[in-house]
Symmetry: C4
Subunit: 276 residues, 4 copies
């Protein structure tokens, strides 16, 4: 019993932690397996390879699925709170790596859903110096959250624009020039406004081309809006981040130079012992 407890703990350290050598080696091998299983799914989707090596690929896929299933089982087994792990973000991601193969027994095309294993690539940040990178990702997410409301206002405006432009193009160009319905018109408007421009559907009437010109100029200009919002928010966050947060007892200046002992505005000592 004591021994099994010991084993579970040792396993936990290897599987869940990254500080020990064994833990890092485990993460490296896991990442390699994930990438290998992705490569197999991709190669299998190429007709030329599929017809030649279908059996081999099938075997490999089942091998990887078994491997990931065992890994998932071990994680559940050695985790001190299995349910908490199972419903955590990484727990669900790990489950996603096993599930599609089981679904593939029922659905024909589900085997390609194995590509969701790519999400496990997030583990790459564990192999690199973990904490630094996750803090940077957090940093970007914070900047995005700060500009959330502005972005919603922007997205609603863009949706409205795209719907109006799409309907107008449908009325102007009509099915004869590829605008077979309003949803197709909206699809064209998105293709054009985002400056992607596939060219599968293009305006042919002078009026349609004038409207297209308007859509393109609009798209070219309003890309400034999300960029501006995000940049301003990020610059703001970066300016504050490097600084030392501490209310000055004299003037309540909230942020100071990193390492500051005195307020640069009123000269008050920021800490009591300095004042005596």
């Amino acid at each position: 019993m004591d021994n099994s407890q010991n084993w579970r703990q040792r396993l936990y350290v290897i599987i869940f932690e990254t500080d020990t050598k064994a833990g890092q080696r485990f993460d490296n091998w896991l990442l390699l397996c994930i990438l290998a299983s992705l490569v197999v799914v991709m190669l299998d989707s190429i007709e030329r390879f599929h017809s030649q090596y279908a059996g081999l690929f099938g075997a490999l896929e089942w091998g990887f699925t078994a491997l990931f299933a065992i890994e998932y089982g071990l994680r559940l087994y050695c985790s001190p709170k299995p349910l908490r792990y199972a419903f955590s973000f990484f727990g669900l991601v790990d489950l996603l790596a096993v599930l599609p193969a089981i679904l593939a027994l029922l659905l024909a095309d589900a085997q390609y859903l194995m590509i969701v294993r790519v999400i496990r690539m997030i583990r790459i940040f564990r192999v690199l110096k973990l904490r630094q990178y996750l803090s940077q990702a957090n940093f970007l997410l914070l900047a995005l959250r700060g500009s959330q409301q502005k972005i919603i206002v922007f997205l609603v405006s863009v949706s409205t624009l795209v719907t109006v432009f799409g309907a107008l193009m449908y009325v102007i160009e009509g099915p004869a020039h590829g605008f077979t319905s309003i949803p197709i018109g909206i699809y064209w408007a998105v293709v054009t406004l985002t400056t992607v421009g596939f060219g599968d559907i293009t305006p042919h009437t002078p009026l349609g081309q004038m409207l297209a010109t308007l859509v393109m100029i609009t798209g070219y200009s309003i890309i400034a809006v999300p960029t501006g919002i995000f940049t301003a928010e990020l610059a703001n966050a970066m300016r504050l981040e490097g600084q030392f947060k501490h209310d000055c007892p004299g003037c309540s200046k909230a942020s100071h130079e990193h390492n500051a002992a005195f307020c640069s505005r009123c000269g008050s000592a920021l800490f009591r012992q300095l004042r005596d």
Copy 2:
């Protein structure tokens, strides 16, 4: 009489305000109706559905139009100053939701103008926490207004560039390669400068391709201009918000340069220890 007055007031609260539960429920249902009427117009534009369900779609459209007409009438009825509402921004938008259906009796394709109902989606901000979002929209509009002159300078420059490039391409490539007229050349120049690149018209002569290269590099570079203008303006607006709020003891000037130790108007020290 008193009773009808009472009714009008209660109706006003439900229809125009968002603070009460009834008001919010009304807004939710209205938004749902708007979205549903848009979906009907879109589905009707798809040939496959139109041939099968033309009657149903027609009935639904008239139903929605009747609904919006009644809503418009109620708004006019319960508003204390009907004319002021009728000529307000939202009043005109509400009218636009009813008008196209009436126009459709006269014009053949006008039924698709019902898509202008999408503009009513702005009401979505009422359903979400209204004030916050509108203030953010205001914020963006202020930044745009602040950069208005720079943007006009930019747009006039781009128009000039596009016209010159379009005419040159027409002269260089000619009708044989799809550049059938100067306006088409200008359309191509806009497609290229905005980096949309449909590919419906492309240069085929070496000289034309060199000019196209120039247009593309220009377009790729000058996208920095609107982005730069807007970002700088937004950062500026955010910086001003961050000014140091502290009443000057000498002249009670309320906001100061960040980090100010002395009032820039009267020279008083802003903090006691400086004054001694």
Copy 3:
């Protein structure tokens, strides 16, 4: 004699200045003529209109040319220093509005060079409130000049990238897939790197598609560079611009809040009389 002198002066005020009513009216009419002459050139380039109204368009073009020639003559006549005007920026632009028509007598296609008249549209800034807009244009030019060196470094790097990518694609894809020569490869690389993506030439081999993926990701990422350079430069210029430039006699702080009477850093009076 005195009378003719008087006339020249009055003419000068009308033609060159914008403060009087007559001067503004002159500018408005001139702008209208420029736009009308552009429209005529554009319409003439459309085959359908050309075959029907060739005579009318020809007459109109000669009329506009005569008008601009007379205007140019008058400007030379009433300008106090004709040579200085002739070689000024606007003088050369005005000459360009007349020259192409004369060239058109010699060259076949030169008539389309009349489109250079579009450059005269810069006069639009005179009709709007002149000075404000030109100062804004100046502002943008200053920001561009400040980032000139960074932009040259960027453009040389991009040219190098594009040449290398273009040559590699030529070697990989070859003439069979549309990459008929290295210059065409470079043209494709520019089309791809700038995210225009016409699609007239596309990679078909797996290796070519992998390289194309690299080019696209590069192009998508390095657009951040000119944008970042320009934005940072502009934000810097805007921050300094609104401020009051005056070296503080106490601490030599160089820029102060607009309207500042005292330095916000050291509290010194910025002007002598305040100190007494």
Copy 4:
């Protein structure tokens, strides 16, 4: 012996330094040779010219190769530490200008590798005022290094997105609409997400077009991320450059927060009038 030593030194000054007139003239001629050799390679790749002037181009290429080989030899000869030069960045670049021609004797297509000579164009910065430009390039590199971690987070996220979208499109659209394998799906996702939009492969099913819309909106929005990161980093670097340089009378700390009235390290007032 002494004489040869003298010669080597004189040669070193001409070839490696840019301060003397002879050194600048040498750099100018070298740059001209590099550009000329590039033009020859490019022209040779055009079928029309190749069939006519194959002999001439071959001779010129060998001439340039000989020239660069001699130059490389001289650099090795006159450099005081030949090995150090040979393994320096510029030493390897200079070798690359000679190597491909020798490889071309063995491989058929290797002659086009001569295009790597374009990398030598970096020498252009020597011809322009060297130091200024390299410091600017350094500045950009520093900003890039500062945002390195954020960029890795961004690139891993984009790779994940692109793989998932590509696999989904393969499942939805299938080989019938051009999505012949998952790698092709990923290629399409990159083309779309980066807003390049060749249009060689486009979605045809309603579900595929809806997913494409999502990819495009994503691509259009997240371009804000690298731009924001780089701009904020650059603005930060520029702001730090603008810090207030003033030796603190108490502890001689040399740079302070902009607007600082007191030293944040020792609390001394930075200006005399504050001290009284």
